[in-house]
Every structure is written in C-alpha cells, then in structure tokens.
C-alpha cells in the first residue's frame, strides 16, 4: 500500500481477500512439486492453510494534477 501511495495513487482501498495456502499453491504450475513438498516440510502445519493471503487493492489517480 505504501508503494501505491508513493507512486501518487489516492483512495487506496483493500478489497477482496482470499486465504492462499499450500493446497492453493499446489494448483499453480509455477510452484514446483519440490517446492510444495518443501513448504509442507518446513512451514508449521498450523500455517499450511494460510501461508499467504490474496488481496485485491483498488486505487485511483487523482483527477487533477
């Protein structure tokens, strides 16, 4: 969010949010099987379902400069 502000954006809002766990990551081909296995091994089990969050931000360029 701070990088959006620094770029000049205003009305920055945090919108839809989805948990992104290891099971979700495994659906993406860019997360290799080796990486998924590593994640399952080294990330504590209680975090497996929420390793990250997919967040949608909206922002606006000011109407006048």
């Amino acid at each position: 969010m701070s990088k959006l502000q620094k770029a000049g954006f205003v009305d920055i809002e945090r919108g839809a949010e989805l948990p992104f766990g290891i099971d979700e990551a495994a659906r993406y081909p860019l997360f290799t099987p080796d990486l998924i296995a590593l994640m399952r091994r080294v990330i504590p089990a209680e975090r497996h379902a929420t390793v990250a969050r997919a967040v949608t931000y909206t922002a606006r360029k000011p109407p006048t400069r």
Binding site: F9, P29, F31, L35, I43, V51, A54, V55, T58, P62
Partner: protein
C-alpha cells in the same frame, strides 16, 4: 508485523537473486507452461460462473491469477483498460466484454508466445475490441494518460521493481483513472528454505 509481498525484492538477510536473474527465472517458468494442457483449476474459486461463460477454455486453462480484479474494477462501456501481465488473457477478455464495442482492452505481457496464446483465445470468441502489447510492466509501451483503468492479477509480485511498476501504471492512467491489483501477501516471514528456493519467486 507489516505485510510483505510473497516475493520481496530484498528478503531479510540480503539479496538472494538479482533483478536480471529474477526476470529470467519468471520468463522461463512461464515459457515452460505455455500451451501445455492444464487442469490446475485456479479459476473456479476466483471467478463467477457468468464470467467463465464469457471466456474460451484456452483462457481458463492458462489462468494463473490470484484474484478477480475485473469484478472490482467496475468497468464501464467505452473505457480503455490495460491488463498488466495478461498471460493467457482471461482478464483482458473479460475486460473487453465489460467495456463493449466502444471501449478497448489491452493485454500486456513480456512473452510473445503468451500473447499469441491470448490472441488465439480472444479470436476463438470473435472478440475484436482487444489488443496485445509485448513489453514489461516496468516500461509500459503506452503514452502518458492513455488508459482509463489498469488491472493486474498475480503479476506485480513477479517484478523485482514493484515501485517502478506502480509509477508506470500511474503514468499511463488518465487523471481519475483506476488501478486494481490482486496479489499474494504474507504476514510472517517464510522459512529461509522457501525464500531461497528460486521456484518461489516465479510461483
């Protein structure tokens, strides 16, 4: 704790990969999946059935976003939209539908092979108010103040220069223009074994 992108440019402990290495890694990772039959099913938790009915199977199969920026963008007929890191074109195609024949949707991707896939996907549905741009998010090949809306879906995190991406997006937006970006964030540090795994950068 401050939220950090999953793929921080400079993870704690110093640089793990240089910018050029990150870009090469991302390019190669995406090249490897172009045209491959996929059944990754990332779309059904992100898109409405009504949206999915508008896009061809090829665009669904190549969809690798993490959110639904088109839903949040509130696109209006006649607007010009750019999809930053369009991949197989699912969001570009949805944008083209939303802005109608008097508007236009542009898909930007750094891989010409991916743009060919996206172009074929749009053509499969006879969509004509759509265009494709080869380039990088850090140097958007458009004039200043030339689009009404910019969207991105799981793409900004792939850039090692996120501030530059935001500055470029700001530049090409018209005054009052909107930016909608969906990406992954983590609240806590990932274990170093993950941060040092090159595949994590492109994932």
């Amino acid at each position: 704790m401050t939220a950090e992108a999953v793929h921080p440019t400079t993870p704690r402990g110093g640089d793990l990969l240089g910018q050029a290495a990150i870009k090469d890694l991302v390019r190669q990772a995406y090249r490897d999946i172009i045209g491959k039959p996929t059944a990754f099913d990332v779309v059904h938790r992100l898109y409405d059935p009504g949206q999915l009915a508008l896009v061809p199977p090829g665009a669904v199969a190549q969809a690798l976003g993490v959110g639904n920026p088109i839903r949040a963008a509130g696109l209006r007929p006649g607007e010009v939209v750019i999809d930053l890191g369009c991949g197989g074109g699912i969001d570009t195609i949805l944008a083209a539908h939303a802005v109608g024949s008097h508007g236009k949707a542009l898909g930007l991707d750094m891989l010409p092979e991916m743009l060919e896939v996206a172009s074929r996907n749009a053509a499969a549905r006879g969509i004509t108010n759509i265009g494709w741009l080869e380039g990088e998010l850090e140097a958007i090949p458009l004039p200043d103040e030339s689009v009404d809306v910019a969207v991105s879906n799981g793409a900004v995190n792939l850039s090692p220069r996120k501030s530059r991406v935001f500055a470029e997006t700001y530049r090409v937006l018209r005054p009052g223009g909107r930016f909608v970006t969906a990406d992954n964030f983590v609240d806590e540090d990932l274990p170093p074994e993950i941060l040092t795994n090159p595949a994590a950068w492109a994932g």
